[in-house]
Amino acid sequence: MNVNQSAPPVPPFGQPQPVYTGYHQSSYGGQPGSTAPPTPYGAYNGPVPGYQQTPLPGVSRAPPSSEAPPASTAQAPCGQAAYGQFGQGDVQNGPSSTVQMQRFPGSQPFGSVPLAPVVSQPTVLQPYGPPPTSAQVTAQLAGMQIGGAVAPALPPVGLGYGPPTSLASASGSYPNSGLYGSYPQGQAPPLSQAQGHLGAQPPQRSAPPQASGFTSPASGGPRMPSMTGPLLPGQGFGGPSVSQPNHVSSPPPQALPPGTQMTGPPGPPPPMHSSQQPGYQLQQNGSFGPVRGPQPNYGSPYPGAPTFGSQPGPPQPLPPKRLDPDAIPSPIQVIEDDRNNRGSEPFVTGVRGQVPPLVTTNFLVKDQGNASPRYIRCTSYNIPCTSDMAKQAQVPLAAVIKPLARLPPEEASPYVVDHGESGPLRCNRCKAYMCPFMQFVEGGRRFQCCFCSCINDVPPQYFQHLDHTGKRVDAYDRPELSLGSYEFLATVDYCKNNKFPSPPAFIFMIDVSYNAIRSGLVRLLCEELKSLLDFLPREGGAEESAIRVGFVTYNKVLHFYNVKSSLAQPQMMVVSDVADMFVPLLDGFLVNVSESRAVITSLLDQIPEMFADTRETETVFAPVIQAGMEALKTLFQPQTGAYQTLAKECVAQGCCVDLFLFPNQYVDVATLSVVPQLTGGSVYKYACFQVENDQERFLSDLRRDVQKVVGFDAVMRVRTSTGIRAVDFFGAFYMSNTTDVELAGLDGDKTVTVEFKHDDRLNEESGALLQCALLYTSCAGQRRLRIHNLALNCCTQLADLYRNCETDTLINYMAKFAYRGVLNSPVKTVRDTLITQCAQILACYRKNCASPSSAGQLILPECMKLLPVYLNCVLKSDVLQPGAEVTTDDRAYVRQLVTSMDVAETNVFFYPRLLPLTKSPIESATEPPAVRASEERLSNGDIYLLENGLNLFLWVGASVQQGVVQSLFSVSSFSQITSGLSVLPVLDNPLSKKVRGLIDSLRAQRSRYMKLIVVKQEDKLEMLFKHFLVEDKSLSGGASYVDFLCHMHKEIRQLLS
């Protein structure tokens, strides 16, 4: 997109070029020796705009091919490099004519074709890019936009092309067919975004049926078609089609079309295929060979990868067949499609093994016996019956559980069931709780446990007759017999020490050392606490919170405060013996806010004053937590220094630790966060805190943290039906044995990921059941059990497995797995493991499920087609591939955060949302459609918001209209915008309102306040911003999406051969 817009401004770009070159150079410097090239490029830029791009990539990637620069030859090398090379894109761009463009859309569902070139050449190239972009390019761009449907201006063209995009993304099979079979189709199906392209949608929808038709065997969900579908159509259409159907982003096939187009505009798919086939055959005898010959072109590009470099690779054909970024699966598209397809209907949980809509889709849930996906999401909803199958597929079986998830207002929170003295009814053997899957027998006098098959007596008071279907007559009156999620009131047996818990308490522990005082933090915090205390979490309709509060300040020593309501003034108690911490007072430390209001206010007023003159720079930490914990228990125990031990004790005492850090230097977050981590708490980090800049963020986080509903002193256990069992757990908690997850505190944001393994055969008929039971103390001090049940299907066919996976959840699991792995293994090993596993998953699919096709084709299961792009994002995240500027603390912090993220959070965290602000009409109330996170998608005449749940950027293109600048920033020109600005001025105009409103709504969606950073194009802060353009090659060495996809393909092929 940006290209497109950049077209007009080209001149400006051109000028800066020189400057940029230098800039780029430096950046590239780090990369494989492209140092020399830069200058040459400079030269190129001038003379041959069109070619510039091509040369760049070529050079940078493959020095040998650098000779190529001249012209088409250059392209050729690129092709080889294809696998990783930016060159590809460039090449395409260069050659691509408008005509091609047009076709692209058709062939490549992802309207962004034009961008492709840019993609290949990350930011660095940009500068060069623009100049070269000739009229053609711009035209292309225009087309692209249309494809994206974003740009209204170009509707005509866009329309035509747009549809195809959507198709492609929506269901591989169709697009393929569309593409190859008839371009018109492609055109027809407009993107969902593309307004008015009704035509487009219908086809999509119709697709499923077709699919089913094709794949009669697959009873499967809508996505099935893609799987089988491809084959059929493929056959029908010819080789190429097949690959496309898989969608999988089959970049190659798609790319080919473009490529072909490139070379010979009209030249449709067929030629390509034919040409390719030979090449492939050579490489692989491919069982596929016969079916569809591998296309030489493809073959070469992949082999072209470093390893294969040696291969001669067909030079000429290659250039045209570059991987087109627009041809590869687009997260944006997938999200968009899922929204359109599944956002409107409520998700009814009655049916076993249903795959829920994506986390990015807004949908309502109707609980009809299975837990809402808000509580539990699984990597697959269809579990292989045998462990052999599971091993073969390598698809991790995991559930991401968020037991106390917040629900939208439309959905009722779980019913609370009170069984009185007797407590909840449980299986005698496995202790599973009564749930809808329990089978009542013998006229209702007994029930068979659905988890362990034990036959239990039904207690007399619980007896009920069965109806003719064997169901209890009262099934629908009882939540535990009809719903997936519900709560039991716990009896005293479920309480620690057999005593009902006392009301929970919050202890605020405030650093009052010199730095904290000087930065104004203490004053700020005390001021805020005064009002914040009115908003402690309450249960239900309770008038006031049952939560008591206590205050501690600390520097080198700890100060406890007695704020008993009967006191005339607060009492401060200093504990200097930090080596042997204890709580100096009993009475008056934890108080009811409303009763002690006056004393608390007086205290909070005085704290900043008292320490105003402090010179103390030393602070203690462990004793602080220790003290907090001590305060919650009545007995003193010997303490040990290690945080680990401390954390365990905290858990044992039900003490959850939240940590707000304001480091000015290295503080060893990894160590400090152990305690919050193990106690189910949160860590917040504000590096170089300054009141003016960070106050809003801190206060907002604090408010949310204090106000959120929390469960205390929780224990979670996941029970499974025979055949599988929970073997591994990820998240912020502590485990003292292998089954019980102990959480001193658990809030609505915290997630526990559980991995399952087979220990026996599963049965297709009975499926697999999960029951997650969480015993916790509500914030009103009530002891409760929250039960979530989920039934999954079991399959004997791998295809069923691949048809029912959820990539987002998979990524969530894999990220957590990898992030834990870095503690014990070198990062490289962890990364390789991830790649290997992913390759195995996809290879298994290719081998067992996909219809035979040329080995050169990358075939991805429909529901995993985003796996590579997301995985790449994980791989290049700061934790797994840290850049030089990422501190150890930052890594530890992120690592710690991710550990307890839910699927929605990991989704956006790894693949940030990039929202163009000025593309859609100001009036539209809806969020603007996101664009792919790549620099190519940025146009310098536009403004974008980027967010990933932690960061929020406002990127301002260099040639944004002055009016826009004025109405947003209240300054007259781009150059006057303050870089790094964190607050937008409040202006009374529609644009300003809209943008600020959007920012607010984004913040509201996230559990942490995202501080806004305004980034100007070409400003030095832009580096920071570009870090989040995850489809691009990253400065720290992370591969671009295209490159990675190629690499993945290579891996898969290696596995298959």
Partner: protein, 761 residues
């Protein structure tokens, strides 16, 4: 021997000294044969309204090993302006200020009536008095309330510039900061952990942070941050604050479950108090006042566990070596006491509880530092309240009757050496030519530190005659002793009181009568008793009794007149006549007998016995019994059951108790209400008389005695019955009822069942 009695009394009044012998046997051998050692009771700060201190400094003997102070016994050459030291015979030049000296113009210290003289030292910074309250909060509500009131009251009695501090303790120990507005601050320590002085000071922030590179700039007085300021503040500044703070003191909030004692961290609290003063005001007069309502139950210094089912140690347990915590606790408190003494501070213990509070273990804190020990049943009694108030009583000059950080130095002439001291003091371990190799009491030194003392504090000081028999002292020779007491007066002045005494030597073989006549049996009894009690602290009770008996027998052997095999022939001269009686009662006294006393009580009694002056000590040894009747004025009667008569009212003063006992008839009369009838007004007066007398005693005594008003058959009559000699219960030959104290007859030896006198004699 009226003259000797007068002499003794005169000496006591003037110098505060009573010697066991007022004529000294001139050789070591003879001296040992006297049985009762040459010793004296010294009341260093005896109130002398007629003795205004002189405002200059004393003149010292220039010999470095002597440094005796110029005194009336020195020979002075007025013309040469020289004086000869009467201890080392060094001839010294008078200092320049004494140039005008002459026979008619003598400085006070040369005048005979100034054998005791007090100098005021002008040098040195004066530091205010310091009072650090250490308050137990594990008290019953009533007790705590009463205690708080007493403490608040005491604030008004303190001099306005005195520094006060407050530490409270229970399960935790809190050191209160006194200078804060708007918020009350305290430092809290856990009561289970023993901290070193350094740790305590670090934690209280008393150690100045090391300021590298910041040297004291000349001209700018080193800014000495008043580090202690936070915890010790002049009373006039924080009077209101502290009063409020005391008012808000709450009982220790930690729950005490049934069957448990509250957790009381006395050991740590004291340790912190000591550490606080040590770090802030070493060598400055300071008083740590510990108020406790029960035994320490946790941490260092714990005396008993918190399980109520395990009772606190008794003498029985101690004998059986069954007192788990005793040794360790004692060690802890001894360590504290020694540190305190080193710093010149003193520790008072006010223990009010019905059960024991661990005085046995803590006694050294008061004993070694010269602090007070007060034992009562409750803080809510007049016994405590008035005793406590009396701490702050003032003398005729309006000064507090307390002094701090005293060192007592004893110098002797060559024939004598000092063997030791018994009293509220610690040794300063100063060896010198006049230190004996034999130790009696705390010996091996010629100097002792007495960190807290008042005008009645009395030490027993024991000497050894070292003159050899074959080197007789020339006729008319006199031995001399000089007591030099340096101390901090309650007016914060540094003062030196010097007492120089001399006694004649006598050859025991030729002049035994002289020596005998100069025997001070009262002083001797108390001095021997002190020795006995001192031994009893470390030895088994029976051994001490046996030792005492043997001493008495030897004394009687030496000075008694008797015919063999005829007990009735035994006679002692007047100057010895009472001595056996004192010993008799001493044997029965709680100072040596632990039966029926708890270890705490024993410690308490012994504490007071070791520091009271002669009169009070005698009362303790042999309680005084007065009889009131219509037959005449009140008269002292023998402490014997025969004194208990139906028509008498008895008033007994045991020092610790005042008992008024109405005879059977009197009690009946009172019951019948005769005292209310006009015609029996004399009966009313009779009833009133002992009450008035008792009141008089109560007013003057510290600590306040327990006041018991009882009658024939009353349960409290046991206090009387337990003290009197139970002669009436035995059929014996002598009618002791007729013997009065004034008859000075020796007691019947055969009532000593343990003393086989006749055989020995």
């Amino acid at each position: 021997m009226a003259t000797y009695l007068e002499f003794i009394q005169q000496n006591e009044e003037r110098d505060g000294v009573r010697f066991s012998w007022n004529v000294w046997p001139s050789s070591r051998l003879e001296a040992t044969r006297m049985v009762v050692p040459l010793a004296c009771l010294l009341t260093p700060l005896k109130e002398r309204p007629d003795l205004p201190p002189v405002q200059y400094e004393p003149v010292l003997c220039s010999r470095t090993t002597c440094k005796a102070i110029l005194n009336p016994l020195c020979q002075v050459d007025y013309r040469a302006k020289l004086w000869a030291c009467n201890f080392c015979f060094q001839r010294n030049q008078f200092p320049p200020a004494y140039t005008g000296i002459s026979e008619v113009n003598q400085p006070a210290e040369l005048m005979p009536q100034f054998s005791t003289i007090e100098y005021v030292i002008q040098r040195g910074a004066q530091s205010p008095l310091i009072f650090l309250y250490v308050v137990d909060t594990c008290l019953e509500e009533d007790d705590l309330q009463a205690l708080k009131e007493s403490l608040q009251m005491s604030l008004s009695l303190l001099p306005p510039d005195a520094l006060v501090g407050l530490i409270t303790f229970g399960r935790m120990v809190q050191v209160h900061e006194l200078s804060c507005e708007g918020i009350s601050k305290s430092y809290v320590f856990r009561g289970t952990k023993d901290l070193t002085a350094k740790q305590i000071q670090d934690m209280l922030g008393l150690t100045k942070p090391a300021m590298p590179m910041q040297q004291a700039r000349p001209g700018q007085p080193q800014e000495q941050p008043f580090v202690s300021g936070r915890f010790l503040q002049p009373i006039h500044k924080i009077d209101m604050n502290l009063t409020d703070l005391l008012g808000e003191l709450q009982r220790d909030p930690w729950p005490v479950t049934q069957g448990k004692r509250p957790l009381r961290s006395t050991g740590v609290a004291l340790s912190i108090a000591v550490g606080l003063l040590e770090g802030t005001f070493p060598n400055t007069g300071a008083r740590i006042m510990l108020f406790t309502g029960g035994p320490p139950t946790q941490g260092p210094g714990m005396v008993v566990g918190d399980e109520l089912k395990v009772p606190i140690r008794s003498w029985h347990d101690i004998e059986k070596d069954n007192a788990r915590f005793m040794k360790k606790a004692t060690k802890h408190y001894e360590m504290l006491a020694n540190r305190t003494a080193t710093n010149g501070h003193c520790i008072d213990i006010y223990a009010c509880a019905l059960d024991q509070t661990g005085l046995l273990e803590m006694k050294c804190c008061a004993n070694l530092t010269g602090g007070h020990m007060v034992m009562g049943d409750s803080f809510n009694t007049s016994l405590f309240k008035q005793t406590f108030q009396r701490i702050f009583s003032k003398d005729f000059n309006g000064d507090f009757r307390m002094a701090f950080g005293a060192t007592l130095e004893v110098k002797t002439s060559r024939e004598l050496k000092v063997a030791g001291a018994i009293g509220p003091c610690v040794s300063l371990n100063v060896k010198g030519p006049c230190v004996s190799e034999n130790e009696l009491g705390v010996g091996g030194t010629s100097q002792w530190k007495i960190c807290g003392l008042d005008p009645t504090s009395t030490l027993g000081i024991y000497f050894e005659v070292v003159n050899q028999h074959n080197a007789p002292v020339p006729q008319g020779g006199r031995g001399a002793i000089q007591f030099v007491t340096q101390y901090q007066h309650s007016s914060t002045q540094r003062r030196i009181r010097v007492t120089t005494i001399a006694r004649n030597w006598a050859d025991a073989q030729s002049q035994l009568r002289h020596i005998e006549a100069a025997f001070d049996q009262e002083a001797a009894a108390v001095l021997m008793a002190r020795l006995g009690v001192f031994r009893a602290e470390s030895e088994e009770g029976p051994d001490v009794l046996r030792w005492l008996d043997r001493q008495l027998i030897r004394l009687c052997q030496k000075f008694g007149q008797y015919n063999k095999e005829d007990p009735t022939s035994f006679r002692l001269s007047d100057s010895f006549s009472l001595y056996p009686q004192f010993m008799f009662h001493l044997r029965r006294s709680p100072f040596l007998q632990v039966f029926n006393n708890s270890p705490d009580e024993s410690s308490y009694y012994r504490h007071h016995f070791a520091r009271q002056d002669l009169t009070q000590s005698l009362i303790m040894i042999q309680p005084i019994l007065y009889s009131y009747s219509f037959h005449g004025p009140p008269e002292p009667v023998l402490l014997d059951s025969s004194s208990i008569l139906a028509d008498r009212i008895l008033l007994m003063d045991t020092f610790f108790q005042i008992v008024i006992y109405l005879g059977e008839t009197i009690a009946q009369w009172r019951k019948a209400g005769y005292q209310d009838m006009a015609e029996y007004e004399n009966f009313k007066h009779l009833l009133q008389a002992p009450l008035d007398d008792a009141q008089e005693i109560l007013q003057a005594r510290f600590p306040m005695p327990r006041y018991i008003n009882t009658e024939h058959g009353g349960s409290q009559a046991r206090f009387l019955l337990s003290k009197v000699n139970p002669s009436q219960t035995h059929n014996n030959l002598y009618a002791w009822g007729q013997v009065t104290l004034t008859s000075l007859q020796p007691p019947p030896l055969n009532t000593w069942q343990l003393l086989p006198c006749s055989s020995l004699l």
